[in-house]
């Protein structure tokens, strides 16, 4: 094929696209940007999993520890998995890390986004059970401050919401594009209402529970974060019940926010991002990454990413599916 032919074909193709969807080509593709953020989080997960702390017995002990308080049918597979990991630590942990790295690569690489997103959902569900003990949801130890309902299940939820298909032509927010506004809102409400419930369970509202959770995360953190967290723990010390109630109210408001008109919805989404940031910094210490040995960034970061999936969109024609776009000929995404 000659240069002229190549150039001519490309020009004709560009012209066809220009005529077919003039506004769409200019519209920033928010969904692709969020997919990349999800991919980056999986990459982060994979890299963290290669840390030295995952290659010692403490890692399998941590996995086995999530069985505590769960019914037998949940706990038994967790214990079996922990034993398996303990006896094949190097091989299995490297496999886990590599899988997570490949999930991130697959989501970021446009031709493989669909299988990678599907695999990430399956992987997340497996890790939620075998690695996180269902996030303590059944054992009663779950709290919004310690990562409930399990960071990894939020990965799966975001993957479903960012699936590259368009069920709703006039989606009010990105999360509605794949599953429709009704289902997307129901998923949001279910998640945040469950967090509100977990904030009020006896384990979360007991005297010293909130301050204990915060101060329990300070070991090994840099001085500035240690001070911040100690300050937060001191602030809520003795006020654990009040703190839990205030947090639960905020979480209920956030849950209801997606049913409100766009301006109010934006306000509640900002509140969601602020709450997620407060949880991530003050209660989760960035997932403990700075102390070394963290397996993931925990739930705060993912809750904020989820909130961005619900940010109201301006009424504009949908952008073409980025998974099928050529970044060189079509320009860059949002």
């Amino acid at each position: 094929m000659t240069d002229v032919a190549v150039a001519g074909n490309r020009t004709a193709w560009r012209e066809r696209l220009r005529v077919g969807a003039p506004a769409a080509r200019r519209a920033p593709d928010v969904r692709r940007a969020l997919q990349l953020a999800l991919a980056a989080t999986w990459l982060l997960d994979g890299v963290l999993q290669y840390q030295g702390a995952m290659y010692v017995k403490g890692f399998s002990d941590m996995l086995g520890g999530t069985a505590a308080g769960n019914p037998g049918w949940i706990a038994t597979p967790i214990t079996w998995n922990a034993n398996l990991v303990q006896h094949n630590l190097g091989l299995l942990n490297t496999t886990f890390a590599t899988i997570q790295l490949l999930l991130g690569i697959g989501i970021a690489f446009r031709p493989t986004i669909r299988p990678a997103l599907a695999a990430s959902v399956a992987w997340s569900l497996g890790v939620w059970w075998f690695g996180e003990g269902l996030g303590g949801v059944i054992s009663g130890s779950a709290s919004p401050l310690n990562g409930a309902p399990g960071a990894v299940i939020i990965y799966a939820l975001i993957a479903v919401l960012l699936w590259p298909s368009d069920r709703s032509a006039s989606a009010p927010f990105v999360a509605a594009r794949a599953v429709g506004p009704r289902v997307a809102r129901a998923l949001w409400a279910a998640l945040w209402l469950s967090l509100a419930y977990f904030a009020l369970t006896p384990a979360s509202r007991a005297p010293g529970a909130v301050s204990g959770m915060i101060s329990g995360m300070t070991d090994g953190e840099p001085r500035w974060l240690h001070s911040l967290m100690n300050g937060a723990a001191s602030l809520v010390a003795g006020e654990d019940l009040v703190t839990s109630i205030v947090l639960a109210v905020a979480l209920v408001v956030i849950a209801a926010g997606v049913y409100l008109p766009a301006p109010l919805a934006k306000s509640t989404l900002v509140l969601a991002i602020v709450v997620a940031a407060v949880i991530w910094v003050f209660a989760e210490a960035f997932g403990g990454i700075l102390a070394g040995g963290a397996t993931d960034p925990n739930s705060g970061l993912l809750l904020a990413l989820l909130a961005l999936c619900y940010w109201p969109l301006r009424a504009a024609p949908l952008a073409p599916d980025p998974a099928n776009m050529d970044p060189v000929t079509e320009g860059t995404v949002a």
């Binding site: 094929m1 000659t2 240069d3 002229v4 032919a5 190549v6 150039a7 692709r32 990349l36 953020a37 991919a39 980056a40 990459l43 982060l44 890299v47 963290l48 290669y50 840390q51 030295g52 995952m54 290659y55 190097g90 490297t94 790295l101 991130g104 690569i105 970021a108 690489f109 446009r110 031709p111 840099p222 500035w224 974060l225 960035f286 990454i289 700075l290 070394g292 050529d326 970044p327 060189v328 000929t329 860059t332 995404v333």
Partner: protein
Amino acid sequence: MPPAWLTDIFAALMLVVAAVSAARLAAARPWQPGAVIPDTDIAHLLMGIAMAGMLASSLTTLPNAAWEVIFALLTVWFAYRVARDARASGIRALASGHCAPHLVHSAAMLYMFLAVKTAASGSMAGMSGSAGSAMQALAYPTLAFIFALILIGYTAWDLDQLPGFRPGLAAMVAPSHQLAVAASVAGTGDAGISTTRTPPASSAGTGPEVADGASGHSGAAVLLSPGTTVGCRIAMGVTMALMLFLMI
């Protein structure tokens, strides 16, 4: 510490990146008059060697002080390039320009060498060359975390852009002036190899000759394709983020 075989695998990967970059540099024929030296390949070559030395305790490279000087120079150079890009295209230079990721890579390398030296307080010989010293703790771990997040962000961005370069297909059949255009997006850029080989506009369209020539050197075309540069950058970004977390 992770098992030595794991860090050795990543060290080998970095040596492959260094070898690819060296081959690209050789293909650019920098000794010829008028040749343009691709700064990104020089950076990849040096970083690949330095990172392999940090990961594999059995590998001896340059003294730390030499690496500090090298990465300080690279950081200044890419900072200058980013500033120049920013003057031309504003803040978009940080997202779409190829110099910004290289600036972060160079600065992260400089930080790793400086911070580990500070942490060791002179009690250790350095990162390269001495067994067991490959993964020392870093001072200012928050900075390591920030660097790692940015590196991972750029890696995701690069992966997103990668299909557009189609190194296995387009690079083999596309005429060199198209590679030059893609190179300016990918990172061989205005200082890239392809620029030196761009035929005059009047010669574009002579198709069969160019296509035949390109297919006759398909291996070289793949090597020189912008996708190869981006692939190297992806491998380097992931490995560098890993090293930062290992040293926190």
